[in-house]
């Protein structure tokens, strides 16, 4: 187990390093720069700006200074918001994004697992088609459509919920959580239906039924255990993505999370912000995958045995 964990952590380092290196050089290759604007900037001002952000140094030197700073956890100053650092902006946005992601995931789990299990009990009947149809709609309907639709109905027409904001008026967290959760709910529904179908045809369930157990015990106690496994391994990476924020949902609902920085940084050629957010997301994904792998190994005696060899 320890051997496995250490091995995986060691593997993660070159992955993250590759992501940093590729991002660093790719964004420099993109046309334009952080200081381009519609209004011409004098060469002296341009030079002073470049000097302040070390852009006047040879690119390899910039690269190594970036790595050196990163080793101290310093992601550098942003180009877009003078006086603020990338660390600060990420740390400010993270709790909000995490909270939104958590609610979205909870909604997704409740809706998704329920729909998936219900559908799997009577495959290829109406009881299957309706929830699975809904799941398909959830997956296919982009959040930039679902969000405004929900706002229109619950915010503007019914006047039940605020149309935007986060934590400033009661109930303003509900619509964004549902909007963000809907797509994940769809996936989870499909995963749990597939998982359940596979388990339901297994011998041990027939045994359970033959023992005369009531159907709800068979489903909830015996089938769910195995049936939800695909969902469990889906949660790690899904949560990593949720933590990186959703540009669309955060923009529609005016939520001060992380998601908006990703897209804006790229448009603005905010080099340090692009790198910072990318490194952050890459690290999250690596870490969460690692955690799922460790959890899976810990749960599965066969895998544990394999790593001991």
């Amino acid at each position: 187990m320890w051997r496995f964990t250490v091995l995986r952590v060691l593997q993660a380092i070159p992955v993250i390093l590759t992501v940093i290196t590729l991002t660093f050089f790719l964004i420099r290759a993109a046309p334009g720069g952080p200081f381009s604007s519609e209004k011409a900037v004098s060469p002296q001002v341009q030079a002073a700006l470049e000097a302040r952000y070390r852009l006047d140094q040879p690119i390899l030197q910039q690269y190594f200074s970036y790595l050196a700073d990163l080793a101290h956890g310093d992601l550098g100053p942003t180009f877009r918001y003078p006086g603020r650092t990338v660390d600060e902006l990420i740390l400010d946005g993270l709790p909000i994004t995490a909270e939104l992601g958590f609610y979205a995931l909870m909604i997704a789990l409740v809706l998704g697992v329920t729909a998936g299990v219900v559908a799997s009990l009577k495959p290829n009947t109406l009881q299957d088609y309706v929830p699975m149809g809904a799941a398909m709609v959830g997956i296919c309907m982009p959040s930039f459509l679902l969000g405004p639709l929900l706002v229109l109905v619950f915010g503007i027409w019914l006047q039940w919920l605020p149309v935007s904001g986060w934590g400033s008026t009661p109930g303003d967290k509900l619509l964004p959580s549902i909007t963000l959760g809907a797509m994940y709910a769809g996936y989870i529904a499909r995963l749990s239906r597939a998982g359940m179908l596979e388990v339901l045809s297994q011998d041990y369930l027939r045994t359970a039924r033959a023992k005369g157990l009531p159907e709800y015990v068979v489903i909830l106690k015996h089938a769910l255990r195995g049936g939800l496994l695909p969902v469990v391994s889906y949660l790690g990476p899904a949560f990593a993505y949720l933590l990186s924020g959703s540009f669309v949902v955060e923009t529609i609902f005016q939520i001060p999370g992380l998601g908006r920085f990703y897209i804006q940084a790229a448009f603005n050629r905010d080099y340090t912000m692009i790198l910072g957010t990318t490194v952050f997301l890459a690290t999250l994904i690596v870490v969460f995958n690692l955690l799922s792998d460790i959890a899976a190994t810990w749960l599965n005696p066969r895998l544990r045995y394999q790593y001991k060899q």
Partner: protein, 567 residues
């Protein structure tokens, strides 16, 4: 993104024994969570909560949609419109702007004298002007602030605004490092003298631009090198200003709050107790926030909502002329556009009236020159009009009768739905009238800027918003070799007027006559194809008072108050 997650998931779907109990716990917890979320939502619904705007009217707090998140609040390093709306409330320059007429009125300076030759300005500062920490505000504060604003290391993109001042350009470009050689002198604590290298009749307008605002020396120095643009002095709790409002709260991407400054010299005139700015990059969201009673005033209106408001609630929408022009530039150094007849043919075959009425829903005014009409009384010349027959004749004269032999070219624009619609319309008009083939080339903003700068285009979209109310802010763009002149246009007489003759003409009407001559020259050479004049659009509560419409979309915060008209 979803597909990526799915891919990762499949590779991880290792069969294993699940944790039965934790599933139940998760399910129970999430059911509880959902329930509590729903309950809290219902609380909001049934509580009969007062809308934010109504509460604001009661308390004198104005809620304003403000476009993009402000990049910063240092008057010497920022240059955007969202920042300007806030900075003008936190600081005040030597002069201020009358929101009705846009003429200057006293700010920190209570009066000023201008010498006969227009080369020397003496400002008399009011004795009761104070910083928000109660320090007195003196002429030395201005001198030090201007030195900072021009220091090359600070990289202030607006430092060129000081260039009419003696030696300011030399200091800002690092040629000289001794600021005493620059024409700014403190004769006594309340007298500031400014000497110019050449007359600049629009100079007073510049002293209301935030790049000339004073900043508090002790505060800035306590955060490090004053010429370092990356210090945190302009944050809530740190910032010391001299304007009618104080910065009290700033949550990035969420809201920024300013409150009335009791130490402002004219605070008796300030009626609002606070203003809250919300970043509203998404116009649709902003419009919904307005409808939901969260905003009194929006920064913009989605174009498809304009007819709806005009029809149903005309008293909630304000549309007014704006100091900006939407136009196309033509690369005069590239065949076949190096022939003026070709450029004119392009300009004459655009039916601007039709374009404005259909594509732009009648929102904007067709433009036939660069400077918007009504720039402090200036009316641009109209040297051409929509004339398809003349356009065909000109093209034939240039050797492309009926478009025969005209090389295919690209219409460049930055990726945006509206720009695309206009480009498609121009493409069709040129094809139908002139028989020439254009293809559309949209590029992401930064790439588009790069392509223009490298003159790697034939015809390209462009726009310009004036920095101050004077034709000069538009016309000095097309001097030979000007930094923003990507067309290759160069004309000796034009340069002479814009650089030498007009600035030396003190009389406004005479100066406008000169500018008209320059603009006529420009339009005869046609390096640009004017399309339309901008208008600013806002959704606005009828309870906002003291915010008259003006061509700069300028708000002088101390005059604004909230009072609902009697029903």
């Amino acid at each position: 993104m979803a597909h990526v997650i799915f891919g990762i998931n499949l590779t991880l779907a290792i069969p294993a024994v699940p944790l039965m109990h934790s599933h139940e716990t998760i399910l129970k917890a999430s059911a509880l969570l959902l329930l509590s979320l729903l309950l809290s939502a219902c609380g909001g619904e049934s509580g009969g909560r007062e809308a934010r705007v109504d509460e604001g009217i009661r308390l004198g707090v104005l809620h304003k949609g403000n476009g993009a998140e402000p990049q910063g609040l240092d008057p010497h390093t920022t240059s955007g419109i969202p920042e300007n709306h806030i900075i003008t409330a936190l600081f005040e320059g030597l002069v201020s702007k009358n929101p009705q007429t846009l003429e200057v009125e006293p700010g920190v300076a209570e009066s000023w004298d201008i010498s006969e030759d227009g080369l020397s300005y003496t400002f008399h500062l009011r004795h009761d002007a104070r910083w928000s920490n109660n320090d007195p505000l003196t002429a030395e504060d201005f001198r030090w602030s201007w030195q900072r604003a021009m220091t090359p290391a600070l990289a202030n993109v607006n430092s060129y605004m000081f260039f009419p001042i003696v030696n300011a350009e030399a200091f800002a470009t690092g040629e000289i490092s001794d600021f005493t050689q620059v024409g700014v002198e403190v004769s006594d604590p309340y007298t500031l003298q400014v000497r110019l290298r050449a007359p600049a009749p629009y100079l007073l307008q510049l002293f209301d631009h935030h790049t000339t605002y004073p900043v508090h020396r002790a505060t800035i120095e306590s955060f490090g090198d004053p010429s370092d643009r990356l210090t945190a002095w302009a944050r809530p709790g740190n910032l010391v200003g001299n304007g009618p409002f104080l910065l009290t709260e700033w949550e990035v991407n969420s809201r920024l709050r300013i409150e009335k400054n009791p130490r402002y010299w004219d605070s008796a005139a300030v009626q609002l107790s606070a203003v809250v700015f919300y970043p509203t990059e998404n116009l649709t969201t902003e419009e919904r926030m307005f409808r939901d009673g969260q905003l009194h005033y929006t920064e913009d209106v989605p174009i498809d909502k304009v007819p709806v408001y005009l029809r149903n609630e005309p008293d909630l929408i304000e549309i007014s002329p704006y100091l900006g022009t939407y136009f196309y530039i033509v690369n005069t150094k590239k065949a076949p556009f190096d022939d003026v007849r070709v450029r004119k043919a392009l300009a004459l075959s655009i039916d601007r009236q039709l374009l404005v009425e259909t594509v732009l829903q009648g929102l904007y005014e067709p433009a036939y020159a660069l400077v918007p009409p009504g720039t402090l009384g200036y009316q641009p010349p109209q040297v051409f009009e929509y004339d398809p027959e003349e356009a065909k004749r000109l093209l034939a004269e240039a050797g492309f009768a009926g478009g025969q032999g005209f090389p295919p070219f690209e219409i460049l624009y930055n990726t945006h739905e509206q720009h695309q619609k206009i480009a498609v319309t121009l493409q069709q008009m040129w094809q139908q009238t002139l028989g020439i083939q254009a293809t559309l080339l949209n590029q992401e903003w930064q790439v588009y800027l790069d392509t223009q700068k490298n003159r790697n285009y034939g015809v390209s979209r462009r726009s310009w918003i004036g920095d101050y109310v004077d034709p000069n802010t538009f016309l000095d763009m097309y001097i030979s070799g000007g930094g923003n002149n990507y067309t290759g246009f160069s004309n000796a007489r034009y340069d002479e007027i814009v650089l030498h003759l007009a600035p030396r003409t003190a009389d406004r009407q005479q100066r406008y006559t000169l500018y008209k001559e320059a603009e006529t020259l420009l339009m005869n050479e046609m390096p640009i194809l004017p399309i339309y004049t901008y208008r600013s659009k806002h959704l606005m509560s009828p309870c906002i008072q003291g915010m008259p419409e003006n061509i700069m979309d300028w708000i002088t915060w101390k005059y604004v108050y909230l009072e609902c008209p009697a029903q």
